[in-house]
Symmetry: C2
């Protein structure tokens, strides 16, 4: 296993002092650390089954081919020996070529955001959780559902770079947006060009336009980011029954073909570039065609995706997804199933880990808090169970005896503060007290927490000169007309 | 593995014709079958860790002892060689004795209720789901929370035996109640005494009065049932931090000691009697002392209980538990965690599998429906994923190509009806349609299903002579004063 990189070289002198992440007083948050899955992964397919899916994926890239709707991408692949016709977007590549490229990709990636204390390792049994991304709508109990806006999301990259010092995602939506994003991340991290490229410090996620197609804006952004040694996750949009076969094995073969074809391109663009296998295979409701998430099929598809990613020695991504319209029981069982899928599959990044509703069409403030509670429990769950002589507690049992109680025993008193996970959102009071307190359901309690957290929020420190440079850059680019947004 | 027993011998002639379980039209129910876990179990402890817990349990029964508040039980154990003092309820037994008794217990148990089509296997990777039991309160969205009553539960054993033909549980609350229960199950199944005893046809669950104590009513009922070759599950009430050590390993050692001591008694009473290891270890909220369920600690305790039960080659029981006051997000994430615990631990019977709220103080109609949806998804999840050439769908992918869609493809059309799990409670409509339909949240939809199911309910068939015999028995026992209920 690659050890946590300690590369803070290349940082210039005006860097501000590192401080601990601001303690959020409202909720009992576990200390910052990257969770590690301790259970062995659940692997639904045996070796033959896994090889059958791999072989099907290879037949797809060899015999059927993948459309690359980007001239430069096709040129690069043709020069690398792939089969490309001048009058067709389709690229066919043989399996030896694909596997040769995939082998160049790193098995572990160390991602260094502007605060190196928030460095993440991406690979193996490491987990990382990313918040909901992309919904056009936002909702909370106070304002209801509305079109997304800057106040609700504090969304433009400038806000992301100033309001958090954690890892940043940039959209692959054309040249200008990606070039600007790279420049802003570099400025915010206070690095020169060479130092920026020395390590992955940001990432993008591109979706294929399934079936069998990679669009121009995604490919363009991905190639630009890969050239700068930044992480690209390739996530086919393979909803089984709609954009992919109705059989899970078929959808996963297609997912793998679409993903590895793009990863091969990126390895040709920059050998060794940090890339990741993205899994989003779920099913649709065959009665309506509506997408479904957190289903039994989603769990199995995610687990098999993990098997495939490990077969290719690639870090990989899955999601905490649901297809529900409000933060109720259905949203929770779908999210719980998605998170258990990620956990049993050992997903390295759980994307949309908090806040997603409506199959990704809405970011919910209350669901965000609910998901954070579930995520923290998941992280805690993976701590090992102690079996020392003191843990076995035979002497404490003897001391308490058949008529005693453990609450007051010395064994309990020594340990009670840290013995158990302490949820910040659960209400474990009895019915009478709960009723007296207003019978608040979970989303109502989450709504209160949202307000308290926002009220107490302190942005992470940024050196004044850095903030000034970032502001200047944004103002100049605005004056120049900004980046096109019509994708 | 013991094959499904086909023992229908001993049944008398007036038995009615077997019919298929009444199809409930409201919900899409999977065909009756017993689910089997297909994933290997998650085992948090290594072999040394597991042996350490076992050894601690053995030290407890050997050195500290377990209190048996039942004179006959102590007499039986003393005659079997255990250390019993005349002035103390405490019984000490050495580990060789305990393990010798436990080895007599069957690894698999076939349970035959009055309808043999509903026979269950208890052991190995087989799963069975039992509904909520014991809450003093009941609730639904229409009537709110109220004290339990016969109309809501149709609770007395007579109703259970006439309204369902599935496996019946009888409470171990004293002599009369258990003797009556055995007699009623025998009459309802239309069996003579010898035929009744030929196979397990009912069960009881007894809880130790932790720490380290078995009470009279539970022991009395358990011994009566064991003598008649019926299943006894022994479930210590080991809430970590209250009735058991604050450390999970300690609580599990105590759970094991309390459980195996009672199982040893039952094996002395009737060697080979069907018995099961019961797990209920969870933690309390250390701020309030309130019980908590579905926590990370609960999941780990359940998984380790599975390891212990397999070590002893015993069928075993866990629960779908939560500590929430209404069927909201918290109730769902706690239940989802409990059910994943049961699944990853391979619990043979998931008790309280549907309908439990408030740490067992309330049976909720809506939660019952929500849990059934989660249970059906769990059962479906354990079906294997196909990887045949047709499943891999390379030809279908070729036919659809980069500009097509799979919804209309022949490959999809041939499979769409059964390709995916179809939930009966989920609403996957888009936000606009959902809003137009009244923005119904999950409990409201569940409430509608409750009403429809009850409206369409048809009791399973029972021969008129059997019903008459059962009615006569109940009327006679009522006239005689019934069974005492002051436990």
């Amino acid at each position: 296993m690659t050890a946590r990189a300690e590369s803070s070289s290349g940082r210039r002198g005006r860097r501000t002092r590192r401080v601990e992440v601001a303690k959020v007083g409202v909720i009992e948050q576990l200390p910052w650390t990257q969770p590690v899955y301790t259970d062995p992964p659940t692997e639904p397919l045996d070796e033959d089954g896994l090889e059958a899916v791999h072989d099907a994926a290879m037949r797809i890239v060899e015999e059927i081919g993948i459309d690359f709707l980007h001239e430069d991408a096709r040129r690069v692949l043709k020069e690398a020996g792939c089969e490309v016709q001048s009058d067709s977007p389709t690229v066919r590549m043989d399996r030896a070529f694909v596997m040769e490229q995939v082998e160049k990709a790193p098995e572990y990636i160390t991602l260094e955001p502007r605060n190196p204390d928030h460095t993440l390792i991406f690979g193996g049994a490491y987990a990382a959780f990313g918040q909901v991304a992309s919904p056009p709508n936002v909702s909370d109990l106070d304002g209801g559902r509305r079109i997304g806006n800057r106040k609700d999301y504090q969304n433009p990259l400038f806000d992301m770079l100033t309001l958090t010092d954690k890892l940043i995602h940039a959209y692959s939506l054309g040249k200008e947006r990606m070039v600007d994003a790279i420049e802003m991340v570099r400025i915010a991290a206070d690095l020169d060009d060479e130092a920026f490229e020395a390590a992955p410090r940001m990432f993008t996620n591109i979706n294929s336009s399934s079936p069998l197609k990679h669009d121009w804006p995604m490919l363009d952004g991905a190639m630009r980011l890969a050239k700068r040694n930044q992480l690209v996750i390739v996530t086919p949009f393979t909803l089984s029954g709609a954009m992919a076969p109705v059989t899970l094995a078929g959808a996963l073969a297609q997912q793998t073909a679409e993903c590895l074809a793009a990863l091969a391109l990126l390895q040709v663009v920059r050998p060794g570039a940090p890339v990741a296998y993205g899994s989003f295979t779920s099913n649709v409701d065959m009665k309506s065609g509506a997408p479904a998430f957190g289903t039994p099929e989603y769990v199995r598809a995610t687990q098999i995706s993990g098997q495939l990613a490990r077969r290719y020695k690639l870090p990989w991504r899955a999601s905490n997804a649901n297809a529900t319209n409000c933060a109720d029981a259905q949203a929770t069982w779908e999210s719980a199933a998605s998170l258990w899928a990620c956990s049993t599959a050992q997903a390295n990044i759980v994307y949309h880990a908090a806040g997603w509703l409506e199959g990704g069409l809405c970011a919910s403030f209350e669901k965000f808090v609910i998901d954070c509670e579930m995520l923290q429990q998941l992280a805690y769950y993976h701590r090992p169970v102690g079996v020392t002589e003191a843990d076995l507690a035979v002497d404490a049992i003897r001391d308490v005896g058949p008529t005693g109680h453990f609450l007051g025993s010395a064994h309990t008193q020594e340990r009670y503060k840290t013995a158990f996970y302490s949820p910040f959102l659960s209400d474990w009071s009895n019915f009478e007290n709960w009723e007296e307190g207003g019978s608040l359901q979970t989303p109502q309690r989450a709504n209160q927490i949202v307000k308290q957290v926002l009220e107490q929020y302190q942005p992470p420190p940024m050196a004044p000169a850095t903030l000034e440079a970032l502001t200047e850059f944004v103002e100049r680019r605005r004056a120049e007309g900004g980046a096109p947004t019509d994708f």
